[in-house]
């Protein structure tokens, strides 16, 4: 241990797409592995990341010009092609998002990246504290029964009390 007191990390998870589900769980599990005390506050669109069933997580490449569209299979040259999908296509082709989500999951798996379920479990094993925002749960109609065990519930003040003592705070 570099210091007497463990470093504290306060994260806000506000995005629930498959790609943005990664940062809070990656940083949370890595920080806990490094003997830091971590709290993740799930609010707005981050709330679905606490659901027991994460199969609904997906991506929507529409209007995201920074998202590479590459195929995780086929010859090497083919895999390097970045398919520039015009918005008119991504918005009109049925099940385009489902296809893109499936490709992203395959690409992650191929590169040895853990699933969201695995990273979330690692966080819990390493005592990362998950706090769900009660207000946005009420607004969006989430129930505690939908969420995994071990989640605590609170509001802005709950997060801020922890963040006030934190060495690292991030809004993701």
């Amino acid at each position: 241990m570099s210091d007497d007191q463990p470093k504290k990390v306060a994260l806000i998870a506000s995005q629930g797409s498959l790609d943005w589900a990664y940062p809070p769980f990656i940083l949370g599990s890595a920080a806990a592995s490094m003997d830091m005390e971590v709290q993740i506050f799930f609010t707005f669109y981050g709330l679905p990341l606490l659901k027991k069933d994460l199969s609904g997580l997906g991506i929507s490449p529409h209007t995201n010009p920074a998202m590479p569209m590459k195929m995780p299979f086929g010859p090497e040259g083919f895999q390097k092609i970045n398919w520039k999908i015009p918005n008119i296509v991504s918005s009109n082709v049925p099940f385009f998002d489902a296809f893109a989500t499936s490709m992203m999951k395959k690409t992650f798996a191929k590169h040895g990246v853990a699933t969201i379920e695995e990273l979330r479990e690692a966080c819990q094993e390493l005592d990362v504290k998950f706090v769900a925002c009660q207000m946005t749960m009420d607004v969006f109609g989430f129930t505690r029964e939908e969420f995994i065990d071990g989640v605590e519930y609170g509001g802005a003040a709950t997060f801020l009390e922890f963040a006030a003592e934190a060495d690292i705070s991030m809004f993701l």
């Binding site: 241990m1 570099s2 990656i26 599990s29 890595a30 806990a32 592995s33 490094m34 003997d35 830091m36 590169h111 040895g112 990246v113 853990a114 695995e118 990273l119 690692a122 094993e125 390493l126």
Partner: protein, 76 residues
């Protein structure tokens, strides 16, 4: 090669899994035990060094061959 009492195969895993698995593998060890970790993730080279610095579990030896990175952690 450094003598080691425990071994972790983290080949094929990507960030942050090698770090997490190393932490978990170190947890039950006795002080002074040596854990050998094998990784294929080039990013684990700086990451394992950071893990060692933060947790005080020193890397006493480190080698690389054929895309495999091998670390020997001494449990503090």
């Amino acid at each position: 090669m450094t003598d080691h009492t425990h071994e972790l195969d983290a080949r094929g895993l990507n960030c942050p899994m090698p770090v997490i698995k190393t932490k978990k593998a170190l947890a039950p060890l006795q002080s002074g035990d040596v854990l050998k970790v094998i990784s294929t993730d080039p990013g684990s080279v700086p990451d394992m060094a950071a893990l060692a610095r933060r947790t005080g579990n020193e890397i006493i030896e480190q080698t690389e061959s054929n895309g495999e990175y091998i670390f020997y952690f001494k449990k503090n």
